[in-house]
Amino acid sequence: MSVLARIRQPSTLIGLFCVLGLSAIAIENLHFADSMLGTTYHRSQTIWIVIGLIGLGVTSRLDMQFVRRVSPSVYGVLVVLLVAVLFFGREINYSKRWLELGPANIQPSEFMKISIALMLADWFDTKRSKEPWKLRQLVIPVFLMGAPVALINREPDLGTSVCVAAIAIGQLLYDGVQRRTLVLAFCISLVAIGLAWKFDIIRDYQKGRAETWWHAMQDDDKTPDTGQGGANRDNWQAEKALWAVGSGRVAGRSDDEARVSVLRHVPFVHTDFALACFAERWGLIGCIFLFGLYLGLVWWALYLADHAQERFDALLAVGVAGLVFWQFFVNAGMVIGLLPVVGVTLPLLSYGGSSALTVLLGAGFLLNIATRRKGR
């Protein structure tokens, strides 16, 4: 079966449709936010998405053996870059996440998401055994995951580090772990989180967000806090975003209405709260469509994982599925007031070159898998 014929398969078409649809929506959504606030983010995002689509094409044609060979090197380089970020990084909003490379700011932590997926898929496949993984055997993958997670958390960027961890854990669970190990790991992580909270490894503002969210969940039906009386700033951000989302109602509002609404005052409307912008303009119907696109993308990845002929491919597809799903779920949950405020971007929709590139490269790997597998 030729490559084109494989692309013509329904699952691949659905997946590609989702990727391209999200890319288009992302540019349109940013264009609106720019027109509202007088910024020009959509231009550079368009360039990034074009680069990303080229990257998608390239990765879809790469030889997987080659990818597997270079993935440890890529991983190593990214870890070095993550260390470099801590020293030479550009600080935006009190966080050092970016490396200035000529005209572009590179965020190595974003690329780490796809790199960890490749790295672990490779490791699990190479060291595979018939039995599920035992705790003892997991020292190396946990270290492979832990190093970037710790480094990213140092930036500080809790959201991305959690994402990297979630991708890795998803792959691990997919590959199979002994039940005993699972329970033990669960207990260890609970203790670890407790200790991290206690010894301030989790920062105060992060605790504050979690607490705010907890309290907001407790009395959700109360009147929206109106930013008065020294209300928590994070809560205020989330509150504004929620107003914007809610005011979209079922069918959305016209651009002119949206422009003069609370949306102007939603923070990070280009990045973390891009969904608020979309939701106000397109309403419930638009949101369901958008969520459908994300669901389609994740479904495609899981479908490929299920139908993959090789263990590596399956695990990589699961990694990409995790990459898209976790970011989507955490970000959307945050914007619609279901989860605490965490700095996680919405794949493609949030402005950010590294993030978009990562997602599109991931999609490229999915396409790679889809076009290589034997048809059924």
């Binding site: 009147t223 899981l302 090789e310």
Partner: protein, 787 residues
């Protein structure tokens, strides 16, 4: 590479894949469910508030209560004041020239103002961080900036404005007389123009400024002040109509305290000012501050004393900021739940006892003195009818209001305009002699017939204490001593009484204690032996008792205290409680019930003694030889006492420094300070006092010549409006004679109990013997010369 075959592994993968799929679907469903709640169910709610930028409470400031005189004339009120501000954040550099040109066109701005504005706009600071730039405060709109009268519309009047010196020139009136006071206008020496010497208004129809010969701008005024006849332009209306030319500017308005009578009653009214950290400090550490950061609070006088009653209670309004506008939150009940508005309670209007006419009379009567004060109280009730301190100040300027164009205060700081000299303590001089007289009579040290010889001086403790009459008064009894203010007689009394008894009696009579007036007052000082031991090098020396007996040296009292004591003397020994406040008006304009006020107290003095003193005080004014004989009111009979406190001083070093550039003013100040303080305190009508007047002229000369005439003018003004029941009798010679007869009758009545004989104090109380006490040294301070 491992291939997934149809193995055990593959089955497991398949199961996990289904699990993952299911989890993802469920998660997305959860998200959508939440979206349905947020957008579908609650959507309408959120849509309503989505245009809202802020919901919150804003303070609405309670209007400060007015202060009214006894006749209801408003002494302090609130006026809206407008100012024009530029927002530097909005000013683009290429617009500066246009902005300045527009402002120059719309407002009469001098070249200097224009330049400083331009410089301010060109300043290199970060415009976002800059405060709004006030172009002009107190824009003329509805009220005259000079006298606060309501302005009236008039046909357009041309005027000329000099952009260099900032003077306004009105068109020359037909009769060349000032339109306000009808005085003849004087030509301006340096150019073509006329000037009113009294109100300083200038008139010209020339094209050049008479002062600096720069070309004048022409303009038109369309508002006229009905009182001072000046014309104005409605600057607020002009700016409002042209604000579209200046998107960078905004008109701000605020409520400002305004005192229409300006200098008339400034000291007792006080003024308001922005709250300071000290004001904001809460009463108790754990309480919140009563004031907001931008509040204005009473700083002095009644404004301070009754700040809480005048300021009212600030309310809170719930507002919604929507698309840049503040809106009331009506009909948004669910949104503003928990935000309760609070009604604004306006401040209470205060009605004073002050008689404005009398206050004005006091001001006019004191027009020729540099510095001093006049107090008039109702002798029966203790209500203050007038309380004037000179020089005065304009509480409007003190409250942050701009002084009207080109008009500066005539007051100079040299005479302490901010000091309320009516409640500031000065040596009471001979007005204090009644203390020694009453004490001596009450203690049976002397009686009406006791005489001492006055050779013009009194030798005591190796010192010679002089009488103000160098030749001496000869043999004088107590009545004559009071009438002629013979110092030697009171030196005797001082020696016989001693400092302790003098101090005790002064306290009994009401010196050194609060008068009850609501504003801040000094208590004066009644020196004791302890005080001398602490404060005077060398400690106490018996001669101090002699100085104290004549009210000199370290004893001080406020004019108000003195007036209060004399009221008690005039009215059978009832020492009134002084008050300035009649009461408060409720919101409906009706007087609220008065708070109970402490009753006046009875002086522990025998009525025979009081009668004797009253007689003597009558003689001071009405007997030939009385120190105030030359000052008799024409419409009422007055009794009183003069005082002349020796108070020659040199100007303080900082004042000399300040006036270095102006030797003339310094010379005037130095000469002025060589003079004695002049006092007069009296009550009228003498037989049944209604009012008590105390006049204090700082460095004014002698009490009889410089203070008493002022008191006479004030008393005459009062009785011109409140005719005394028997004015004719008091006026005619017959009436005078009759009064004198009545006096003599009084004189003959025994004033002391027949069985008690005058005793010399050091016979029964050795501790009081002044002469026996050791003296520290020959350089002991003492009053060697007394007026």
């Amino acid at each position: 590479m491992t291939v997934l075959g149809p193995s055990h592994d593959a089955q497991r993968f398949h199961a996990r894949n289904r699990l993952a799929m299911a989890a993802v679907f469920v998660a997305v469903l959860v998200l959508i469910a939440r979206l349905v709640i947020v957008q579908g169910v609650m959507g309408a709610n959120y849509e309503k508030i989505a245009t809202i930028e802020r919901v919150g409470k804003i303070r609405s400031q309670a209007p400060r209560g007015q202060i009214k005189g006894s006749d209801g004339t408003i002494l302090a009120r609130n006026l809206e004041s407008h100012s024009l501000e530029l927002l530097p954040a909005k000013v683009k550099p290429d617009r500066i020239a246009t902005i300045v040109a527009h402002l120059r066109e719309l407002l009469d701005m001098t070249d200097a103002e224009v330049e400083s504005l331009r410089a301010e706009l060109l300043k290199d600071a970060d415009p976002r961080k800059r405060q709004p730039l006030v172009v002009r405060r107190d824009l003329v709109s509805t009220h005259c900036p000079y006298d606060s009268s309501q302005l009236e519309l008039t046909s357009e009047v041309e005027y000329r404005f000099c952009p260099v010196c900032g003077r306004n020139f009105e068109p020359v009136p037909a009769k060349k007389a000032c339109p306000f006071d009808q005085r003849k206008l004087q030509p301006i020496s340096t150019g073509d123009g006329l000037r009113c010497s009294s109100c300083e208004r200038e008139f010209s129809t020339a094209e050049q400024c008479p002062y600096d010969h720069h070309a004048l701008h022409h303009g038109h005024h369309n508002l006229k002040c009905p009182l001072c006849q000046r014309t104005f332009n409605d600057e607020v209306a002009v700016l409002r109509a042209n604000l579209h030319l200046l998107p960078e500017a905004r008109l701000q308005s605020e409520i400002q305290r305004e005192y229409p009578f300006r200098f008339l009653a400034s000291h007792l009214l006080g003024y308001v000012g922005y709250v300071t950290d000290a004001d904001r400090a809460p009463l108790l550490p754990w309480l919140p501050s009563r004031y907001a950061l931008t509040d204005r609070v009473g700083k002095t006088g009644l404004e301070r004393a009754f700040d809480q009653a005048l300021r009212g209670i600030d309310g809170e309004q719930v507002v919604v900021r929507r698309s840049g506008n503040e809106e009331s939150a009506k009909g948004m009940d669910d949104l503003i739940a928990g935000l309760e508005p609070r009604p604004t309670v306006p401040g209470l209007t205060m009605r004073l006892t002050l008689d404005l006419e009398l206050q004005r009379a006091a001001k006019v009567a004191m027009k020729d003195v540099f510095s001093g004060s006049a107090v008039v109280i109702d002798a029966r009730t203790g209500e203050v009818l007038a309380l004037y301190s000179k020089p005065s100040f304009d509480p409007n300027t003190m409250s942050g209001k701009r002084a009207p164009h080109g008009k500066t205060s005539t007051d100079t700081a040299a005479y302490a305009p901010l000091l309320d000299k009516a409640v500031h303590a000065f040596p009471p001089a001979s007005t204090f002699k009644i203390v020694a007289a009453i004490a001596a009579l009450e203690e049976n040290i002397v009686n009406a017939t006791t005489t001492f010889h006055c050779p013009g001086y009194y030798d005591f403790g190796g010192r010679r204490f002089h009488c103000h009459s160098k030749r001496g008064h000869g043999d004088v009894n107590l009545r004559e001593a009071i009438r002629s203010s013979c110092d030697v007689y009171f030196y005797h009394l001082g020696e016989l009484l001693g400092l302790d008894r003098l101090e005790a009696w002064a306290r009994k009579l009401g010196y050194g204690e609060p008068t009850g007036i609501e504003i801040h007052e000094a208590l004066g000082r009644l020196p004791t032996r302890e005080w001398y031991a602490q404060h005077v090098k060398g400690g106490y020396y018996p001669g101090f008792a002699l100085s104290t007996a004549v009210g000199q040296k370290d004893v001080t009292a406020t004019p108000l205290q003195v007036a209060r004591v004399y009221s008690a003397l005039g009215r059978d020994g009832i020492l009134p409680n002084i008050t300035l406040v009649q009461g408060f008006e409720g919101p409906d304009g009706k007087m609220l019930p008065r708070l109970p006020r402490p009753e006046g107290r009875d002086l522990p003095v025998k009525s025979s003694t009081l009668r004797f003193i009253r007689n003597a005080l009558l003689a001071v004014v009405n007997d030939e030889g009385g120190t105030a004989y030359s000052s008799q009111p024409t419409n009422v009979m007055m009794a009183g006492k003069t005082g002349t406190a020796q108070a020659a001083q040199r100007p303080r070093a900082e004042m000399v420094e300040r006036l270095k550039a102006d030797p003339l003013a310094l010379g005037r100040l130095t000469t002025w300070m060589q003079n004695d303080h002049a006092w007069f305190v009296g009550y009228a009508p003498a037989e049944d006092p209604e009012i008590t007047v105390a006049v204090f002229v700082e460095h004014g000369g002698s009490g009889g010549h410089n203070a008493a005439p002022i008191a006479v003018k004030i008393v005459e003004s009062w009785f011109a409006r409140h005719p005394h029941t028997k004015p004719s009798e008091a006026l005619t010679a017959k009436g005078r004679k009759k009064a004198a007869n009545a006096q003599e009758e009084l004189d003959e009545t025994p004033i002391t109990d027949p069985e008690s004989t005058p005793t010399v104090p050091h016979e029964e109380d050795p501790a009081n013997r002044p002469a026996g006490e050791p003296r520290e040294g020959p350089d002991e301070p003492g009053d060697e010369v007394l007026p």
